[in-house]
Amino acid sequence: MVLKGKVAYINLSTRKLSQEFVPARMRTLYLGGRGIDMYMLYNHLKPEIDPLSPENVLLVGAGLLGGIPCLGSGRCDIAAKSPLTGAIGDSNLGGFFAPELRFTGFDHLVITGKAEKPVYLLVKNDEIEIREASHLWGKDTFETQTIIRKDQDDENVKSLVIGVAGENLVRFANILTGMKNSAGRTGMGCVMGSKNLKAIAARGTTPLEFAHPDELLEYCRQMNDMITSTRWSKAQSRWGTMIIYSNTNTTGLIRTRNFQLNRLEEGQDLEPENIDRYSIGTSGCYGCAVHCRHRYILREGPHAPLYGEGPEYTSLGAFGTMVDCKRMETILVANHLVNKYGLDTLETGGLIAWAMELYEKGILNDKITNGLKLEWGNEEALYELISNIAHREGFGNTLADGFRKAIPKIGNGSEYYAIQVKGMSNLHSDERPTPSFALGIATSTRGADHLRSRPAIDMYGLPEDVLEELYGGPVAPDYNSYDGKPRMVWWQERLYAVTDSIGLCKFQTVFCSVHAPKWKEFSKLIQLATGMEISEAQLMEIGERIYTIERLFNLREGFSRKDDNLPERYFKEPTQIGLPVARNKKIDRERFSKMLDEYYELHGWDNNGIPRTDTLKKLSLHKEPSNLM
């Protein structure tokens, strides 16, 4: 049965391994993937530990529906205490690793301790081996995967790996699988590096047994039709998430020159259509019919020949608009570099854009940057700084520690220019015209983030009755409005928490299309795959439980209402350009605070953002940590 997945406990210090089945009660309370990872993180981690110490716990979790034939069911969740923020560390990646892990018989890995020398884990059909990895240390992410496959003489081995950035403990190092699928946010690759863990390789041949296989297959077919018929999915399948750029840049919703402007003028070369000049086709993750990433080749120029995959919308901003680079080729090179070194694209671009603004303002100078001329649009400086960050060389060493440590080190008012929340860089989106998005980045449990709660459909001006039916209460259709937006954020938080826990791609849910799958479809899929009867209302409660335990984790680490905030510039500096709907907009501090009150109330938290006792009881969280796993 698909519910017979096991959890493995691996102590790299003692090399002790043990395993057990995931308790059925855990499935009904937390499903799998992110949900169970969050439960175990809250239970296993001692408060206030150093995230780079052997005491940090690294969790790898496949979703409850990982491996079913639809909806991008290859998602894998990675969690630990974040070395970047000190808050929840959690990141989610696609590709093929999570299904492969499930085929070995394991759904979750709990990794503690620190290996004496570099090692990698080999998970192979019910067996786990800690293997020596000195021959992999120093290799980039692509080489590492190739060598492991050769070592195993098996092209079907799937690996999660770190690059040199993770080895060098860059606090926003990512974990990569394939050519681009990465757990980028919150520095999970840094945690792997701190444990001397270079890779986790999986190879399994145990088929998943579903409760109702024939009905599941037919329902998955219906789901695929449902997804691929949406306008969003059709466009995404053609140009990937880059498709978002045309709308956001045209409107004036993109951070440009860090935060100075909200549209990249003369940014036509970054339009998604231009990937066609370099693309040799598209590719997809396990179980997905959308195929949203391009495979591209640079055949000419100083960086040729170069093969890469993507880029995502995030990289268009990170290495385009935010640093004022206007060429698609720059994006493709930088995207390749961060994947090769194992860096989070968003954090890297956010920090470099910040540094460029500090350089312009004279807060940084050539002496501090070791001669690097951090001028807007200087693509060679961009490439060099990416490399310096990954290798912790020169000024890159300062940025490699992220905003929280770099701000006091640089000083001189540099904090004002940092576009971050809880120590994590924001996407290149400019949320000043969209209060729902602004609330989402302020309250996200892992720091400024668009993937924890973003109600992207707020941009569509959907009819009020449609929004009210979807969100269960009144929501203003105007995206400039503050009315009802906390409800949107709250609803999306719970949907995404459940999506990450069943292991599906949130781009194929109500992210950009109101017609995409949500609670009802999830409930049916769970029933057909596992036999578990979980109603739509119960799924919403599970989402609430997961989000609340993340909140409890952050509260325990010292975070509070004061951290659910936005950078000052959101309140002080209005947007300058763009269409009238996006121009001359800033966040009203008082109305933002009222949104926060309303958002807490919807969650059943008090005015300080602390879950009330009755809320904890309702969610069966009042006895946590209970150490059931």
Partner: protein, 47 residues
């Protein structure tokens, strides 16, 4: 006929097949249009 949504006033309006530009009938914003598929128009940028 394919439709696009005006990015300024959010009104949906039809676009002629293979058209390279289109004007929102409500707020008069003029857009460049591209075609992810032969039957699906999308806004590419301001015209």
């Amino acid at each position: 006929m394919s439709e696009v949504r005006c990015l300024n006033c959010l009104k949906r309006f039809p676009v002629l097949p293979k058209a390279e530009t289109a004007i929102c009938p409500k707020c008069k914003t003029k857009y460049r249009i591209s075609w992810p598929t032969p039957n699906q128009a999308k806004v590419r940028g301001l015209a």
